[in-house]
């Protein structure tokens, strides 16, 4: 199976053939995947070098000229470093584009904290109108990338990861999917957290919702799941900062007395290298830790 990033390159290369409005902007990272696209579309595949302010600014400028830019690098250099460019060169200019990130929160643990961006989705939450897709499988990434490219002049963020679930689900770019039904509470698993959440909740009487499009937040799906439970107890497990979607769950359940537990990546730096699994355990996001935390919360 190819990785999400490899799928990004192959799907986008195909989309460049199909849609003359599409353009790809890179900053040295991910260039290898676009060699053939660059040969075929030399004016629509642009590598600006290691210049991330320019990377995002060029994306905004392409959009001002009527193109649909797809802008890619690691999340830390796409959202965090040039955040003001994301805010102004897209949002304030009132233009759209697709930002596609890799490496996310902990995909390259040996690279350390400089290459981790667990705050990316929370940062985008400070802005208006961004759609956020968090695929959990390369097939889902392909589906969501196609939707993002075709989404008119919408502002779309697609968060790719090396952490994946074993099997793809039929994601539609909008709704949460009900993966398991129960009555003792609702657990929302975001993207690549699903397999660990399913393992952690094995045998528990809980509904598991699968979220790959987290903004806009599917409030109706959460309300509907909560309506089928004996208590409005909600756990959200996200592969970025813990609690990022808690406010959205609270807003969705405004009319119902409810409890929400937000699980995800802590703000504290681990200052550890090592492997992805070790970081998941270090953040309490492995199946065993999740089971402890989820059952502890639902039992209260």
């Amino acid at each position: 199976m190819d990785t999400m990033r490899e799928r990004f390159a192959s799907v986008t290369t195909q989309l460049l053939d199909e849609d003359p409005r599409l353009a790809v902007v890179l900053a040295d990272i991910g260039v290898d995947g676009f060699r053939s696209a660059l040969e075929r579309h030399p004016t629509r595949v642009v590598n600006v070098g290691i210049r991330e302010q320019l990377l995002v600014g060029v994306g905004g400028g392409l959009a001002l000229a009527g193109m649909r830019p797809v802008v890619h690098t690691f999340a830390s250099f796409l959202v965090e470093r040039p955040f003001e460019q994301v805010k102004l060169d897209f949002g304030h200019q009132d233009v759209g584009g697709v930002l596609v990130s890799a490496a996310g929160s902990y995909d390259w643990p040996a690279g350390g904290f400089t290459h981790m961006a667990p705050g990316d989705v929370a940062l985008l939450d400070t802005l208006d109108g961004w759609t956020v897709h968090v695929p959990g499988h390369p097939d889902e990434a392909g589906t969501l990338l196609r939707q993002a490219a075709a989404a008119g002049d919408d502002k779309v963020y697609v968060r790719l990861s090396v952490q994946t679930n074993a099997t793809p689900r039929p994601v539609d770019g909008a709704r949460f999917l009900t993966v398991r039904e129960g009555t003792g509470g609702v657990v929302v698993a975001v993207g690549p957290m699903l397999d660990n959440v399913l393992a952690a909740t094995e045998g528990l009487d809980a509904t598991v919702l699968y979220a790959t499009t987290v903004r806009p937040f599917d409030a109706a799906a959460l309300r509907s799941a909560v309506a089928g439970a004996t208590a409005a107890d909600v756990v959200i497990v996200e592969p970025y900062h813990e609690g990022t979607s808690t406010r959205h769950a609270n807003d969705a359940l405004e009319q119902v007395p409810h409890r929400v537990l937000g699980l995800g990546v802590g703000r504290r730096e681990l200052r550890r290298y090592g492997q992805l699994d070790e970081h998941l355990a270090g953040q309490g996001l492995d199946a065993r830790s999740l089971r402890e935390r989820i059952t502890g919360f639902l039992a209260r």
Binding site: T43, V46, L54, G61, L64, A65, L88
Partner: protein
Amino acid sequence: MTSTPLNGTTAHDTGFGELPHLMSLMTGDEKHGPAATSTLDALWVLYDRVLRVSPATAEDPARDRFLLSKGHGPMAYYAVLAAKGFFPTAWLPGFGSYDSPLGHHPDRVLVPGAEIGSGSLGHGLPLAVGTALGLRAQDCTDPAVWVLIGDAELDEGSNHEAIAYAGAAGLSRLHTLVVDNTSSSHGWRGGIASRFEAAGWSAVTVDGRDHEALYAAFTAPHPGRPHVVVARVEAKEYSGEPKPKAAAA
């Protein structure tokens, strides 16, 4: 001097000599110091004689683009846009008020003819690079893309990312106008033009009050390379009145 036809907003063509009055509608003063007018001459020559854009073609994909990156002190810009009929001069007195589309930094969503919203320094040149790339990608190679930055704005590192890349990419439809009123805290040893030339740009430095020199610099050929015009005007610290200019006939 000829002007493009106005959009029915005034009964006669507006010339350079009337710009101070239009600015006074925003500032309340008939006279303006050099800082307020640092961009005025260059903007006028661009809009009057160089840019192929008018209220009638403001949405035309093949129009020339002018991006005001240095969004501070936009009175001169608004005066020129109003003089050229992009919006009614009746908007000018509302400058900065809650119900006015004319803020102390321009917003492209609110101001007809404004290609970008600006205010935070260092965004215009990267946006102009992207615009030039986007036009090229659509085989729309005729329109010129212009961006105005200030010499102090050049402090922002994002400009240097854009300057280096645009030179290397040979973006020949890209033009930068640097209005230099010596306001950069640490200056530019060796000159502003040298930064661009080292990156492969064509560069000309002129008196930013001399309309003929500006016009010649704006229209100088620069095959295969982006072009910068450094327009030098009085230092921002200058405390006297601006040198009187003969009103354009």
